[in-house]
């Protein structure tokens, strides 16, 4: 029970309090502690991220095993994943590994790795394209959903139209000082609202962090309440 509940909370509380206190002590001793902890964090973070991958893989394996609808696509995911990891671990991340250079003598220490080819010519174009689909979705939403249904929404849409037109060169054809108008909106009224929201969000973030350190908030440990 202690290992399950108290210990994690104690660890979070101890580390959190220590890091807050550390902030106020400029002494070299505290700096050394801080530096070591940062090193440790980098390593532990890497493991926590690897485990996130594990849960995705697990999900796809279960899907294939249970032959749920569309299980074939899980096979594609796992195959692509397997090939990439194989190529990536054997061939190196950013610089080719010794093994790769032995197998393919024409690969020089400075050449791109196979992983980079997969990244630049497979992942990059696809990911960029998926997000560019949003240009289309938004166009249709502009036509069918963005309505001046209230005073607030009308204000929003008018500001949006001014900014949309004023931020591109064509705005100057409508009104020569359009870029200045947009810059003014962004610098004063819009900035003020953003800052007001930001102060609130910041207070919320700090409150959440404090609650975690105090052990009041436990959701991050998983398994709900």
């Amino acid at each position: 029970m202690f290992l399950k509940k108290q210990l994690p909370l104690l660890v979070a509380m101890f580390m959190g309090t220590m890091m807050i206190i550390q902030f106020f002590i400029p002494h070299p001793f505290s700096k050394n502690v801080y530096s070591t902890i940062l090193d440790w964090l980098m390593i532990v973070t890497a493991f926590t991220l690897l485990i996130a991958v594990q849960s995705t893989v697990q999900m796809h394996i279960t899907k294939i095993r249970r032959k749920v609808t569309d299980w074939q696509s899980s096979v594609i995911v796992l195959t692509a994943l397997g090939i990439t990891v194989f190529v990536g671990i054997l061939g190196g991340a950013y610089a080719p590994t010794n093994i790769l250079m032995k197998i393919f003598p024409n690969v020089q220490p400075g050449s791109d790795t196979p992983l980079m080819y997969l990244y630049i010519y497979f992942q990059t174009p696809m990911q960029a394209t998926i997000f560019s689909l949003l240009a289309f979705y938004m166009a249709s939403a502009a036509f069918r959903a963005f309505r001046a249904r209230s005073f607030d929404a009308t204000m929003l849409l008018i500001t949006a139209s001014i900014v949309t037109i004023g931020r591109v060169p064509i705005g100057q054809f409508f009104y020569a000082n359009m870029p200045e108008v947009v810059e003014w909106i962004l610098n004063y009224p819009s900035m003020a609202a953003q800052r007001g929201i930001l102060i609130g969000v910041n207070l919320g973030m700090i409150a959440t962090s404090l609650k975690i350190i105090l052990g009041i908030e436990r959701g991050y440990l998983g398994g709900g309440k």
Partner: protein, 201 residues
């Protein structure tokens, strides 16, 4: 410029087109490329973490430099894998608590500083219209998000001002988003028409 002869550019172009085919309707080409994307992006991350953390930060210090202090985070990290064993999964809470707790501790003073800087930035030195607008805007926005009083009387009027500022702020963000979405599409067009087909330079 002419049409590309590189096989890699062709692959990238065909994958791009297969994703665009989704706009017409959902089809196997889109599904196939989407799944490949998921697989490759996870695989890419795993490979990078393997080389740059496991090898560079754990294996090398331990084996080559004999820095045994690394063992502490290594054990913490390995505890994460307790999730693979049903009865012992709770052990993975310790490294999570370590990461989250330390992260919270580091962020609190710095976030407060950031907050203070924002508040201080709202208190100007010079008496100008713009500065007054900022002060009133920030103040009324903050009051809008203040939940301990009813929005009635004078407070109600102030919050009206506040919501107007918020709408202008969102309007600006909305306009900017339109801009961003178009840019993403332009990037792909430049690739398809330029790098692949060679119609534009």
């Amino acid at each position: 410029m002419a049409i590309s002869t590189s096989i890699w550019i062709w692959i990238a172009a065909l994958l791009t087109l297969s994703i665009y085919s989704f706009l017409y309707k959902d089809n196997p080409f889109y599904k196939f490329s989407e799944k490949i994307l998921v697989g490759i992006s996870i695989g890419y991350t795993v490979s990078i973490y393997f080389h740059n953390t496991i090898i560079a930060k754990v294996w090398n210090p331990l084996v080559h430099d004999h820095n045994f202090l690394v063992i502490v985070p290594l054990i913490l990290g390995l505890l994460m894998f307790s999730r693979l064993f049903k009865g012992k999964a709770y052990l993975s809470r310790i490294p999570i608590a370590f990461v989250v707790g330390t992260g919270c501790g580091m962020s609190i003073p710095s976030s407060f500083e950031n907050l203070f800087k924002q508040v201080q930035g709202t208190m100007p030195q010079v008496f100008t219209i713009g500065n007054i607008i900022i002060l009133i805007g920030v103040l009324s926005t903050l009051i809008y998000f203040f939940f301990s009083v009813e929005h009635k009387g004078i407070i109600g009027k102030v919050t009206r001002v506040g919501i107007t500022f918020i709408m202008i702020g969102f309007g600006a963000a909305f306009g900017a988003t339109i801009m961003a979405r178009i840019s993403l599409f332009i990037g792909r067009i430049q690739f398809l028409l330029g790098d692949w087909l060679g119609i534009i330079s």
